[in-house]
Symmetry: C2
Subunit: 150 residues, 2 copies
Amino acid sequence: MAKQGREYGGALDQLLELTMLLSADMERGLGELGLTGPRTHLLWVVHHQGPSTQRVLADALGVSARNITGLVDALVDTGFVTREPHPTDRRATLVSLTKHGATVMTQMAADHAELAEGLFGGLGPRQFGAFVTTMTTVLDELRRRVEEAR
Amino acid sequence: MAKQGREYGGALDQLLELTMLLSADMERGLGELGLTGPRTHLLWVVHHQGPSTQRVLADALGVSARNITGLVDALVDTGFVTREPHPTDRRATLVSLTKHGATVMTQMAADHAELAEGLFGGLGPRQFGAFVTTMTTVLDELRRRVEEAR
DNA sequence: CTACATAGTGAAGTATCATCACGATATGGC
DNA sequence: GCCATATCGTGATGATACTTCACTATGTAG
């Protein structure tokens, strides 16, 4: 109960540092494919949710709808996605992965798992479980605080 | 030992989500002060390390030296830092916090601690200790992997 | 059919990054 | 002292990612 502020701050600092390193590691090698952070994020959403309208992508990425246009443009130019008319709503377009895009995202998911194995593989089951449990608690608390700040 | 890939992936996803929420929460309210992410990061470095040359700041922020010029320009304009000639190296300039900058950063450190209290305050000492220990292990492993990838 | 909401884009602007070139200054070897 | 070389900061230029406002085309509710 009597944990000191400095202890907390150190934990937060480490979380932030881990974050930055994670981002750097995840983005390594994507530049050669022309995949920047937001573009990769967009591909990730399409990979997980299937063909999506740009409105949906804007909400998923947390940016304005206007911004999605340019991201999709770039991904169409580099052959990762296609734009097709929405079957029922003629205002909307559906963004889908091309074969190339699907291949790249499948590989990325594999790399993702391999990175996780490298990170957590050295931990015993109990350590790993405690880590995930605590992280989940912290995440829930943070999400609650973020929500109530709106 | 036989943890599954999906477990790992979930932990990583949560880490990334926590990251994003943390960033959003940390930046809340800074916009009113004209403090964007990189500018805040720069202030943070100066606050912790004292007056620094732009070269040092570039390395600390992980961006090109050229980029620091504009960030410092903006922070000088808004009164957070000053540029002074380096006492011994006439090529270099020293970036220091103004009184205003120091006040803001002290407040930010307090907010930081308060956020951490909100996040970790609900955890028992044992949970908290296990979390920090495991996070440190993961962080070290990640740092090792990032280093060897260079 | 009219009023209003929504999907996507053009125009214009801002912030953060990069590389290349350059002048000013340090520094080490002679 | 002198010269080659490295380093510090910045001007010029461009890419990427974001914004808001205005607009067209389309859907939807009354």
